[in-house]
């Protein structure tokens, strides 16, 4: 018997972009949460939707995952329109919401069983897949524990595992690492990279620049419901602010000599004596190789020579005039979540 049932065939026989949003708009009574957002995510890639709290990230995801109806515009997931064929969209995607939406009073295994059964997986399949997923997310030992006893990181991992039980080709992750400690965050990133390697398409929202930088093939920056920039992390960085050559001299006594040498090749040199560091604006890699060659021929000993591109944080600042990441950072995660909950309703 062929394994591919009708539902699965319907779900998987598709070669176009995994996600396409066309002019999505969502207006609430008193505000426009999402204002003309269009994006395309090719299969097997990761799109990072980056923006501060209240930017409209969650609402955008909710429209693309059929949880809320767009005021205008539409989206397609695996080729299925969210407005005309929401059922097929739901069959094609998994969603990991902002708060871990696992059932606290069930065990990890029971959570997997609940969602697996609702997808229509048979008992044997559910058991086999649960074992695999628990193993993969390092939850095997906690599989029979009630989720209430899980740590934040474990909940997140279980949440993700639950979203994967039906092996959806497209996965939406709304701030998957909000509220996690740095270690759990890095662990989750590894898991997500693994999914992409296996061919899953990811759309993840984040307010952490580093996260977008680490995971996303392409980044869409959103603020006040509008897309304000998009591209690869590199493109975004190139788009705003200039790169700089950063050069660290090994011996302080050679610092002045190095400065003079560098100054003869570039327009402007900034000296940081304490760090034995020289910084000069550069147009790109060619400038740096030129400088490297010059110093190679000189007697000056260098600890380090590199091209520093602006960080995404700089990019965000130059694009929006404010920083993306709040100072409270992870400590404020709970408060942030509450704010976003307000946004999502």
């Amino acid at each position: 018997m062929t394994i591919t049932t009708e539902a699965r065939t319907r779900r998987d026989r598709f070669t176009g972009p995994a996600i396409e949003a066309e002019h999505l708009v969502k207006r609430f009574e008193d505000m426009t949460a999402v204002d003309d957002v269009s994006l395309t995510v090719p299969q097997g890639t990761v799109l990072g939707l980056l923006g501060p709290n209240g930017a409209g990230k969650t609402t955008t995801v909710r429209m693309m995952t059929t949880l809320t109806t767009p005021t205008s515009g539409t989206a397609r997931v695996a080729g299925h329109d969210v407005l005309t064929d929401p059922e097929a969209v739901r069959l094609s995607m998994g969603l990991t919401g902002q708060a871990a939406t696992v059932d606290e009073m069930l065990t990890g295994r029971e959570n997997l069983r609940l969602i697996g059964s609702l997808y229509g997986l048979g008992r044997a399949d559910v058991r086999r897949l649960s074992d695999e997923l628990l193993e993969r997310f390092s939850l095997t030992e906690s599989g029979n524990k009630v989720v209430k006893e899980y740590s934040g990181g474990m909940r997140r991992r279980l949440d993700l595992a639950v979203s994967l039980i039906a092996a959806p080709p497209v996965l939406f992750l709304d701030e998957p690492t909000t509220g996690l400690d740095p270690r759990s965050r890095v662990e989750l990133w590894d898991v997500l990279r693994g999914l992409v390697t296996d061919g899953t398409t990811l759309l993840l929202t984040t307010q952490y620049l580093e996260e977008a930088d680490q995971l996303a093939d392409r980044i869409v920056v959103i603020d006040h419901g509008r897309i304000i920039a998009e591209g690869t992390a590199l493109e975004l960085k190139d788009q705003s602010g200039q790169a700089a050559i950063v050069l660290t001299v090994s011996h302080t006594e050679q610092l002045e000599e190095a400065r003079a040498l560098l100054a003869s090749h570039v327009s402007e040199v900034h000296v940081d004596t304490a760090a034995r560091q020289l910084t000069a604006p550069a147009d790109g890699l060619s400038d740096m190789t030129r400088v490297a060659a010059v110093f190679d021929r000189s007697e000056i000993v260098l600890d380090d020579l590199g091209l520093k591109r602006p960080s995404l944080d700089d990019v965000f600042l130059s694009l929006t005039g404010h920083r993306a990441e709040s100072d409270g950072d992870r400590d404020g995660a709970r408060a942030e979540q509450d704010v976003q909950k307000g946004e999502s309703r």
Binding site: T4, A7, R8, G44, T66, M105, Y119, P169
Partner: protein, 286 residues
């Protein structure tokens, strides 16, 4: 686990043999899983059952032994008279269970998770309702046992006895819609509990549940006797043979208690169900 599904290879007949099989589940199966989930909750937290066990038993004991001595009824024994009242109250509280459970699921995003699945949108509500009926039925069972222990008896025929229980469940069904309405409209479980305790709770007292209406001032008596709970309680008392038919001085609803009780339950459902569905749809739409 295979994630090859995102590539085009899965569409060929050579798809990985361990790819999960989809058998889109029918509504019945979906509801079954929702109920399963709630039953698991109850098993993990047996204290969830206090509202249909310890609480009504306490009420029975309080009223039967503390107030009972000074309440005069048209039944041979106050305890026998009291029991149908307690049962109706327990069933009215079915709405509490639905309201707080639904509100918690909405608040924690569990409903969003369900809504992202390829399942019927009704299964969540139907599942909750079925669970609420099971929950309240436990209460009815416990009350029946308590009643039998303190002297309540079913004195009429089997058919009438079953009819009384059916009326009770029908009323519970109507109250569930009220629970869905409140659970969807309120923003927190605290708000749900607050509203329920200030509405349903007094309403269950402003009736013939614990004391006869005859002694009330005329306007209050009318209010109490037109209370849907009074018709239900009167109907159960008559069907179980606990009291003689209502006196001629009683209001019209009590004279035709069985029919009126059915009518009330249908009317409440007809009015509240659309409001409840609308409130739920609005709550989940944004």
């Amino acid at each position: 686990m295979t994630q090859a599904s995102a590539t085009t290879t899965t569409s060929s007949p050579t798809a990985r043999a361990d790819a999960p099989r989809f058998r889109p589940p029918g509504l019945l199966r979906q509801v079954q899983m929702m109920v399963w989930r709630n039953l698991k909750h109850t098993r993990r937290q047996p204290e969830m059952l206090t509202d249909v066990t310890i609480q009504p038993i306490m009420f029975v004991l309080l009223f039967a032994f503390v107030f009972g001595g000074s309440i005069r009824t048209d039944s041979g024994s106050y305890r026998e008279w009291l029991l149908p009242g307690i049962m109706a109250q327990t069933m009215a509280f079915a709405s509490f269970i639905v309201a707080s459970g639904l509100n918690m699921d909405l608040d924690k995003g569990v409903i969003d998770r369900f809504r992202s699945l390829p399942i019927s949108r009704g299964s969540v509500l139907i599942g909750r309702s079925v669970y609420a009926i099971i929950h309240s039925s436990i209460g009815v069972f416990v009350m029946s046992m308590t009643g039998l222990a303190i002297g309540w008896r079913i004195r009429d025929g089997f058919g009438n006895a079953v009819l009384a229980f059916a009326l009770l469940l029908l009323f519970g069904f109507a109250m569930i819609w009220f629970g869905i309405l409140v659970g969807s409209a309120m923003r927190s479980v605290e708000a749900v509990n607050g509203l329920m305790f200030t509405t349903i709770f007094p309403i269950t007292f402003l009736a013939n549940t614990f004391a006869p209406t005859e002694a009330m001032t005329p306007w209050l008596r009318s209010v109490a006797e037109w209370n849907p709970i009074s018709a239900l309680v009167q109907a159960m008392r008559e069907l179980w043979g606990n009291v003689p038919p209502a006196p001629p001085s009683a209001s019209w609803p009590l004279q035709h208690a069985v029919v009126v009780s059915v009518g009330w339950s249908l009317l409440i459902t007809a009015v509240v169900a659309p409001l409840a569905i609308r409130a739920y749809a609005r709550r989940t739409a944004d």
